[in-house]
Symmetry: D2
């Protein structure tokens, strides 16, 4: 079997596996316009291959309308906020649709691929991995809105005793100093020969100028974030961006998403809050306010990538591949990586950078050019990958992006400061 075919099967099976703990009802509901039903993710990712890889008549007449996400060039589509109302096709029919697409794609691979088609399949697999993450964040949002906080699946006992106080705090935060000067970040243009896959928004690789700075050795913990809360963090306007203050005032927010007083909601259901764990599910506004309270700031994406590129991706077990699906306290191996830990695959780290094109950026031609470029306004960049990002989908140049008020992603905080 062709390496790409094997990879195709592997990635597609993983998507199916993520939906396994869920009932047809769970896969149907849409908790908010920004989140999609699991069933829709299952169908849309298949539609992506059907549309951009396969030829011939559509497998089902209305799927172009139902399962197009945002490709204007493909045509009109079902309103995003109403995805949860598409009870037809059923979950079983969507599964069969996925199989039909799989058969055809594998058959197509077997018949031999040109560069363009190969690139489209590779893109489709990375697209699929993005949706694997979204399946988990979206179902967490759905179940987290249920008054009973039902578990996606139960691996961790709810009454897990928190670690002893000392351990609970985790290691002290260290400041890793970095020199100023010209650095190079970003990924080579997609499709450039021999280059590993990257989305178009990561390119071109280019130089940037840094001033000396320092970056925190680890993520901000729940315990530290609680100190901010206890110090009146949510009641002091001087700590907040104006938009952020308006948002927490209007929504009467006083804590991260999924927190109760001493517990939090995880994909394993409700369990005790552990101080040493990284805080997650905070907005950019909360991250920024916390940083200001701590006398620090968030790193820019250039500062972040300049450091992250020195840390091997597999520095600890991938929390998505091992199905932990929740960030963990600092592990013992940090020293090996220049003192840095929790860089990849713990929580998405809000940066101080707006999501804008890199100098020299060019979107792909055609419908796939809508993949990333048209979203370059009103969003902030997040880096690092989270505990629900597949291991093979994490890289230092990866630019994730969400509006500043977003909280349903596994988003957390790493501090920086001027040297």
């Amino acid at each position: 079997m062709d390496g790409l075919a094997r990879r195709y099967v592997e990635v597609r099976r993983q998507t199916d596996r993520l939906a396994e703990p869920l009932s047809a009802e769970d896969c149907q509901a849409q908790s908010m316009p920004d989140a999609s039903p699991t069933k829709w993710h299952l169908a849309h990712t298949a539609w992506f291959f059907e549309t951009f890889v396969l030829e011939g008549p559509p497998l089902a007449a209305s799927f172009d309308y139902l399962f197009n996400s945002y490709y204007e060039a493909v045509g009109p589509r079902h309103p995003r906020a109403a995805r949860g109302l598409l009870t037809r096709p059923s979950l079983d029919q969507v599964r069969r649709y996925r199989q039909q697409v799989d058969e055809r794609v594998l058959d197509r691979i077997e018949r031999g691929l040109g560069d363009d088609l190969r690139a489209r399949i590779v893109l489709g697999l990375h697209h699929e991995q993005q949706h694997q993450e979204l399946i988990l964040t979206d179902i967490k949002h759905l179940l987290g809105g249920h008054p009973d906080w039902p578990a996606y699946r139960r691996r961790v006992p709810a009454t897990a005793a928190p670690p002893a106080a000392a351990a609970a705090r985790g290691p002290a935060l260290e400041w890793i100093a970095r020199p100023g000067g010209v650095v190079e970040i970003g990924a080579a243009m997609p499709g450039e020969s021999g280059e590993p896959f990257a989305f178009d928004n990561e390119s071109p690789r280019h130089q940037a100028l840094l001033r000396p700075y320092a970056i925190a050795s680890r993520l901000v913990t729940c315990g530290e974030y609680r100190a901010f809360m206890n110090d009146g963090g949510y009641r002091r306007p001087e700590l907040w961006l104006s938009d952020g203050w308006a948002e927490i005032s209007a929504e009467r927010r006083d804590r991260p998403l999924y927190w109760r007083d001493e517990t939090l909601f995880t994909l394993d259901g409700e369990r005790t809050l552990i101080d040493a764990e990284p805080v997650a599910h905070v907005s950019y506004y909360e991250a920024d306010a916390y940083a200001r309270w701590a006398g620090a700031r968030l790193p820019t994406e250039v500062e972040w990538e300049a450091v992250a590129a020195t840390v091997p991706i597999g520095a600890h077990d991938n929390l998505a591949d091992s199905e932990a699906f929740h960030p963990r306290p600092v592990a013992a191996d940090a020293a090996a990586h220049g003192g840095l830990s929790q860089v990849h695959g713990d929580v998405w780290e809000w940066t101080a950078s707006a999501y804008l094109p890199y100098p020299g950026y060019r979107a792909a031609a055609g419908a796939l050019g809508e993949y990333n470029g048209k979203f370059m306004s009103n969003q902030m960049v997040l880096r690092g990958g989270s505990c629900v990002t597949p291991g093979s989908h994490i890289r230092s140049s990866y630019r994730n992006f969400f509006p500043a008020g977003t909280r349903w992603q596994f988003s957390g905080i790493r501090l920086a400061r001027d040297a």
Copy 2:
């Protein structure tokens, strides 16, 4: 078996039967805040018996929160607009919950009932029948919002040839003249000995004064309504109440709900529009505008009931019991009932009466007093029952009520005029 027990089983089974053609997905989704998921209807009607009939600890801890509709006296409840997000309990669990409730209620009946408990069970069965109707109107709204117009079930071929032109128009509309004077309408107080069941809002039976009037022999047909549309009905403000004009302008409405150009959506899916059928799914505003265009008006509920009480309920086969689930052209038997046809069980007929308490009305004590009385503002009365109202739930004194803009119910038009 006790007559009440038999009746209980019968009614409850019918509810289950209505959900049979539906998948777990279909039963999960909520198309708008005013409609509820089928699963929620199934659970709520069981919860009603558990709460108001059974004693002892609750069968499931959170059901009081999840499945309370609007009883403030029972406690807080899940927001109405978010019922579609309750993926737990599953449809299967809800079915088991219904069985558990059934066993307990039947056991309770067997142990002998006092008057109060018997009355509560009877109320619960009428409540269940109301939700049987809502299951059908709500699922029609869900499927009618799907771009494919999928059928709830398929009994009628989609390409049914419309009847020949003459038949298509149906019989000419006749005006049945009625004298003025004092009439008596309404039902005796619920619980008064020997009286058949009625909701509290139908009582007390009381006198009202009428002026001479005439009422239409049949409902307004689709063909007649099309003539109104073709005459610019939706573009002439002088025909409309101000609120109605604002609504059709804002929503860009130009036809009844579920109409395309030559077809309409039914519970059997899309099919050809038949001119002789009664128009359905119009709002009070549309009914009122049509009447003004036709040089007529809508009847008051007193006028309606004074006439309807002379027509036997079973004047034609009940369209819900026979599972037709759509109104039909005038049948041949109208002559037998003073020239009146389509009075009971075709479409709910908008009246010119606001939903207000009858003189001397008193709500029941306790939580059940919230059943009807607290909704007596900003709604109009509809009469007659529709093609999705169970036959044993139809009576001439029955007062249905909805806001003037409502269209997802099977609501139609009967004209009246001053004599």
Copy 3:
């Protein structure tokens, strides 16, 4: 001078007089979509005469667009919610426009009038009086929304000592019993020969059937309303209509409009709350909840008119003509009117009746037919006139109407109950 000319001058001057205490700024602002700027009222009432009485080219090209309120037959118009943005024409220009219209109308009267034109001028004067009331309620709403509660004008000292406790309660509420039977209410058709003026919605005069009932001798006082508040009136859902409960919950309401803890806002600015005064600025929901708490109900409009017709309109000094502009405690002369007081010209009394056409109602032809009829949905009837209704504009058959949540009118409560 013709009697109508004299009347015309009198009414028009009174409108001007009401605007005198106000600056150009005060006359410009619009506090909410339901209220209009004083300047707009001044212009619209002149436009009404220009449009429906005068002939010839318009005095200003765009006034048909700017100052048409809601007459679809006249043409498109400036959005209601944006009236406060029309800084041109200026207040001075609007005053000149009024003068121009006055000259032309008086000239027209002098040249002799046919019946139709005479009727249109009479209608215009009643229309003008309606807007006199609205000028006061709307400016009260504007100034009442200012954090300083500035006075429209100052006649009453702010620190008026409340009357001694006994007087403060006012006379005890008595129940006036009324027999059942057929009564006649309403006004003769407008234009019927020799009949005094009435709006079309008051006609035709017709019979109605009453059951025996009792009606309160006076209005509910501020002191009584405070007892309701102190008894948890705003926290007990069982007292409220469902729509009302939703409204006070969403708006976090716990008292009438314009109340602080011990003071209230009047057109004379802030002053001490006086227990013996009638409560004003309550919604239908609040009136209905109060009545339920008091073990009573609101009267229907038939019940109200059957009683009110026995009380002469000038039973006490008119509070608008004397420019008191606030309701007063019960005066000493009530005994003379069958024990009833505060029937006309104190506060508008919410009735239990929805605003619907009387049996046999017919709207006028043409644009003026839009005056009343098209608003006959989603509103409740109020009766009696208020302390800002001109004396000559009050009559027992008068039907005022507002949505159930309205509070910026001088609206209060008279109780009724079944006999």
Copy 4:
């Protein structure tokens, strides 16, 4: 007289002068939450001096509440969207308030100032100049929303014949090439000795790295923008950012603000559209879409400043100081400035840069620290000053910022491209 005193008087008088053509009504109204009434601008700018410069008891008790714009540290304030409802104080009272503040500030200057107070007065004058610009943009928005498009003042005849076709196009657009490398931009920290005034957000002066690029010699003209419109610019989603496409679709936009078919609205009222004039009143989305259509992009703020710093500010007569208040076609003197024209004081030029802190940025301490820093999210940077920006308020390092959808500012387009 002290130089600062003379400057104070000069700037303050200019504000008064801008309000002179306006009536009390014009100064009262607020056309949208983002715009403020002229009267409010007049009062707020005085309040700024009273609050941050003067000592002693407040001149009027509630002004801190009424005229605080957004300083959380000063206390609660009147809701921004309701500024148009503050009819008290009157325009005359506000003018007197301004005089009282002026007397006290001038007296304070005369008594001698320390560095901090002097800096606060200088800041207050720059703040005043910002509001001078807003007075004009906000009144333009108010009058531009009036159906008659009334003029703020009339200097330009409405029927001005457009220039002959050739002139109408203006000079051809040239591309000015710029090398890559490290450049220095920004202003020195405010208060650093001897440095001219700059807002804190312009500092610190710092290095940035550029790639070779080219920048357009002049602004995009109305004629060029019409070509974009005629080429389907508003109907082709591939040209738009996703947020921009959503906005123009929802608002049904198909042209810049203040455009009719062949005319546009200016502060002199309606007049013929002139092709050679710079397009103004476009959003960032429109600027970005235009650039994409033209095969170019917007410059970053670094690219812009690196070029603009080479052009003297007074390159042409200032259009605000000369009260032209509208941008003009390219003048003849461009050649003298490296081929660049219309850099300062024509229209604000949208850049491709999000409004974020410069590396090393620190906000001032206390309430004044809220001046700029807290708005650093969800906005884009505009550069260059417009035809309503006072000449002494323009500088190359100036960073203006607005949300991407903003159109009521004089905002236009300069293109850039990679070299």
